[in-house]
Structure formats: structure tokens, C-alpha cells
Amino acid sequence: MTAGGFLLEAAARSGWFGLMTRSVGPQIRGGEAAALLRFSNRRVDVPAESYNILFVVDWLNFDRFSAEIHLTPDTMVIADPDSGEVPEVVVKSGARMFDMPVKQVLGAIEGGRPNMLATGVVGGIIGLPIDTIYELIQDNLGSKGEKAVNSSKATVEAGYRFAETLTDAPALAEPKKSDKRRWIITGNEAAGLGAVRGGVRFAAAYPITPGTEILEWLAPNLRKLGGALVQAEDELASINMVIGGSYGGVPAITATSGPGLALMTESIGLAVAAEVPCVIVDVMRGGPSTGIPTKSEQSDLNIAVYGLHGDAPHIVTAPNSVSDCLFTTQWSVYLAEAMQTPAIVLSDQFIGQAKIVIDPPADIAFVGKRLLAQNIEGEYRRYAVTESGVSPMAVPGVAGGQHTADGLEHNPRGTPSTRAEDHMTQMNKRLRKITGFDYGSHWAEIDGEGELAVLTWGSCTAAALEAVEAAREAGIAVKLISLRLISPCLPDAMAKALEGVKKVLVVEQTHSGQFANYLRAQYELPSEVRSYHIPGPLTIRPSEILSQIQDWS
């Protein structure tokens, strides 16, 4: 376990909430790396604006992280004076420097490792009970033998001792304990759990950063549930395996990132036309092309909504926080199954890979339930025209339901047809399924009231919420609307949400303002709209949004 992991878990066990992200250099292994942690006594979903403590093992290539690690004159920087020159950006920040002979301390302890020292120093400064850390060491290293445990403990202790020597150290607010055991989870793990809660029992996989962990979580856990995951040769195969599994009646999922999604679009269109439910989680990263695989961006919105050839109505959703990956993925399985259509879930690198402490999530009611054709008598019409647009689906094994699912345009029986009438009928039916569906209140999270509304989605939501709360504290009434259902659009629900709103600030992490353009195309917005869009790799900070709000108030 890394120092960050130890600290997060120790804090969680002691009643604090927290969030951890990691940042690494270009080296595949063995290069520079940073763990960024934020602790609080209420749930935190956004990285810190600036850091109170910086523990430095060495300064090598620190510049790579300086844009992510904001230092202030309040920051305590603890570093070995022999670990290289202090970077200019650190000096300029005015941060308080504390020397610690890191190498010397470690050298004095047999098996002493920097991660344990960092754990000890930081744990000591912020006041984590040392016993909790010892407990964790026992749990994690117990199997490696007493020696390993003892040297780790000794290193942690050395850290604590050093921490005691520091003055004006920042302290955490009182922890908020809970009767229920809290969870530590990443967004990718949460998505996996959401999938199986929604009923998924089949997955197909082709690894890609940063979506791989969803697949790696599903592989052993689907097995435990009696399901299966197949590793595919590529994404063309994985999406079609998912379609095949789902055609067999088993709710199915895959996860990928932008390049993989691009390879899947032809077959997602097949799922639209042949009306086979399936879920594709796109954990977005910096684009275009291979882009910046290890960093976050929201720039796959366009391809998710508009990336299929032909008119191909389908569902696009987006989790609005690390923990919401659970709810939104589960809900998306439910939606896909209910409407017999593909659902694309737009997660991203930040919420996918960030690790967070949360209260255990309630089990929600959304379990995929497909309208099945059973006890079939007479001619079976797979694409029968119904009021909702959803037609009862016969799955293999059901007598009398034999039919051919087809991506060619077809008549209600499924027989290929080039007739204008059949085309129009089936197009209307496929569209009606998703525009006429009752999405309830889950389509968006709406918070507060005000003439100014921040309209956002996905991983920008948490930063927007902090910004909105700060604005309110500063006396500015701001409404927050964060869309969980990206497509289809719900004009009535939005109109209601926008009642009384005169100005809209659209916030998103793209270069071209994809979300703002999409909203403009599909919704009636108030006449005053501003678009704040910044591409990755840096996550948008609450203070940036706040200053946009202040500027406009």
C-alpha cells in the first residue's frame, strides 16, 4: 500500500472523510509519483484547492506536478535538504520549509521505506491515532512476517516523532464517527458494483486506461455471482460479445475509454437498430486520439451523443461524483434493459480513479427488468409497434419466439425492408422508446434557487457544488443543475428546473464547449448564457467557478 492509501484508510477508520488522487510521470514504472489527499469531517468529492502539507521524498521532476499541487504561504513543506534544490515554484509560493533528514532517518531503520515515513510524518501532523496505523500495518503486512511489520512501525514512529517537533501545524476538525462501517471505494470500483447490482452478469473486456479497473473488478466478482467475463481481442469484439450475451437474455456491460468507444460505435448502432440492451462505460481521458491517457477530460460527450452513424437514438448518462458511479451505472443498466437500447455511461479518469471515503450507499431499487415475450402464441413480431415503443423480446429458448434480430431496416416481424413506411415506423418507435420514458427525478441533481444557475455535468459537479456553496456564503443565490441524463434531453423537466433562472453558466472540462453546444442545440435556455470550458488535464477547481459566478453577479 502507498503512503496515501495508509493515510486515507487510517483517517477513515478514525471517522474522517477523505479523497485521494494520484499523479504519475511518463515513466511506465519507477518514475516520479505524487499522492494528493484531502481530509474533512464531511464528504469531499473534489481535490483540495491548495495543500497544507507537502511531504517530499525527493524533488526530482517535481515541476511535472506543480500545476496540480497548489502551494500557499500556509503550506508546510517537509523535505530532505539533501534531496536536491528546492524548485523555484516552491520557493516562490512562500511556503514554510521544514528540513527533515529523510535519507538519514530511513538509513537508520532496517527496512525503512519512504512511504512509511511519509505516513508517519503526515499522520503525526494531522493527528491520526498512531495505533490505527499500526493496526493497518498489521492487516497489510502481517503476512510478510514480524520483521517487516516492525520496521514499518518503527519508520512510522520516527515520522510521528518528527511531526511533534513542528509548530503551527494544521489540525483536522473533529472526526464524525458513524455506526455503520464506512466504505473506501474508487469510481471504477463503484461502477463495477453498480453494474452487478443492476443485474449485469456478463461482461466483455479489452483493457484501456483509465477504464481497465472496472473490468478488473468485474472479472473475479462476476464469477462469484455465477456470471462471466470474457477478455476480447479488441473493442470490436468486446462490444459484439456484449450484444451477443444480452441477446441471450443476460444483462451485459463493457468498459472502455475514448479510443475504444470510437471502435465500438458501429456496433452500438447495431444494438440500437436490433434493439439489444447493453451498457458501455466510457471512462474519459484527455483527447483527441491517444491524447493524455492518464488525465481527465469530458470531451467524449460529442461522440457519445452524436457518434453513431444514421439516426440512432440511445441513452447517455453521466455519474456526477466518485460514489455516484455506483448509482448511475446501476440506473443505466436499468434504463438499457427497460428500453432495449444501448446506454453509454460517461465517467472520467478523475472520478474513475479517485479513492474516496463514503457512508455505505443504500441499495437502490433499480434492477434491470426487460419486457420479455413468454408463452408466445401465433406469429411472433419482434419489432411490433407498441405505444411505448418497447416490444416484448423473445430470448433464445422460448418456443415460438424464433426471429432474426437485424441491423437492416425491417418491418415489425424483423424482415428486412426498404419501404419508407417501415423505416418511418421503426425510426419513430425507436425514438419514442427513449423520449417517452419516465426518468423520474434522476435526470439531474438540482440544488438551491437563484436567478443565476450553474449548469454542469459529470465530474465538474462536485467542484461546482463547492463553488455554489461558497457563493451562497458570500450572499449570492445560485442554483445548481447537474445533468445525470445527458441524452435524450427532457425539455419539460429542464424548463421546470430553469423557472426563474435568468442567467446560465455552463461549466465543463472540454476545449470546444461541447456541453454548452449540446444544450444550445437541444434545449431552450435563458437568453444569457456563458460557457466556462477548460480542457484537461487539470481538474476544474471550485475557486475558478466561484470567480466566474462572482464576475457575473
Binding site: R223, G226, I243, G244, P361, P396
Partner: protein, 277 residues
Amino acid sequence: MTAHTAPAFKASDYKSDIKPVWCPGCGDYHVLLSVTRALAELGRRPEDVACISGIGCSSRIPAYVNCYGFHGVHGRSLPIGTGLKVARPDLTVLVAGGDGDGFSIGGNHFQHACRRNIDITYIVMDNRVYGMTKGQPSPTTEPDWDSALSPGGTGLSPFHPLVIALASGANFVARTFSGDPNRTTEVLVEAIKHPGFSFVQILSPCVTFRPDERGWKDVVHTAAVEETDDPARAARRIMTDDGFNIGILYRGNRAPYKLTGREATSDTDQLGEMFAI
């Protein structure tokens, strides 16, 4: 023909009422006949059989068979069949299509499906041409076959589907001729019954764009040697054959992909608990 008790089904029970779009004389009519006969012979209920295809003239076959069918996109029939079989091991899954669909755009899935060795049967109606798009060379086309897209021929050595199947790990490899539905039916029955991935190349003339293939009936001949379970022997034989040897060329005993033993040992609540600190 394999010994069997009186079948509960007739070939006509597996024939749908949809009229094929195929040209008069197309070899695929006989493939359809053989598939329905083989299914009748095996006696599986139509609802327990699924036939998956891609795009092409040959790939139209699912709609003409009375069973569950999926006419997918070009080149992706094997992944659909794979997903279906893994999710539903109880079904009999046939995957069918053309040489373009299977060896050109679908060539990667072909290799990997052979490796994966899932218990499905893959039938390729090989006419050495893209029929549906009106006559372009496919991977199995002769290097000197002239066409609009490759004037004077491609000059490329043809793709050897049987060698690739064998080298990649298919567990049953056979070649038949659509014009001989009796033998084709027999081979299909064996292919479907054999565990693991079975590959059957059916030479099926395209009378419209390859009228010369009408002559195939005169050149096909029964493979001179017995089938084998030794991949190296089978490979040697196929690498040197003339492409018209008919019969089961390899019947292996490679371990098929494990589809069984999928009892749940946990529920989703228990899985959630793993995140509790």
C-alpha cells in the same frame, strides 16, 4: 450417416417462410438445405438453436432458418456468437457467413475464436468473392482474378482458412461443397456435435460474379486420407492440398473453453461489503 433414433424434427421444421434474396442458382441455397437437415438430424428444438451472421449474401442465412437468429454487422458474427454462448451455454450456437465477412474484415475474430475454442460451429460459405457488393476479390480469391477494384488481379497469395483455423487452435476443421448436400449435412452434424470450436468451409459458388465456379462440381473430390487428431499432420496435409479436398480434415481433442461450473458463491450485498473499512 451417423446412427440415430427416429428424429422428432424434419428439415422443413427449420425452414422459415422468408424468401431468400439469393440469385437463382446461388450455392447458398444448398447450404441452407444442409443446415436445416443437420439440425433435424440432431433433433435440437428450433428455439434452442441460434444462428448468427455478419453481412453479405451468405450472411442472410439466419432469417431463412427457423431458429433464433442475429444478422449483425459486417465481420462481427463470431464475437456475437461467442458472447451468446458464454452467456447461454445451454444453446446450440451456429455462426455463419461469407469469406469476406469471415476472413477479411472478420479475420481477427476468426483467429481468436479458434484460439478461444468455445463450443460453437462456424460455417463459411466460401465463394471467393464479395457477392453482396457486386464482385470484389476476397482473401480467398485467386491472385489473377480480374475485377474492377483490382484490375488484372490482386497478385496476392490467397488466405488459407483451414490452415489458419488449425494453427490458431480450432478443434474441428472440415471442408465441404454446397453442391453435395448429403455430405455437407453429415459434416455439419459432426461439427455441431464436436466439442469446442468447429470450422466448416463450404465451397459455395457465386453464379453471378464468379460464373466459373459452376465448374467446382467437377473438381471437388473426397480427401484421399483419413481424418486425424494430430494438428501437425493435418496442417501438412492442408498446406499442400489443392483447395478442393472435401471431408473432415481434423477432429481434435483440445480442451474447449470452460463454460460450466458457474454457480454463484456470493451476492451483490456481500460484494459491497468488501469496500467497508
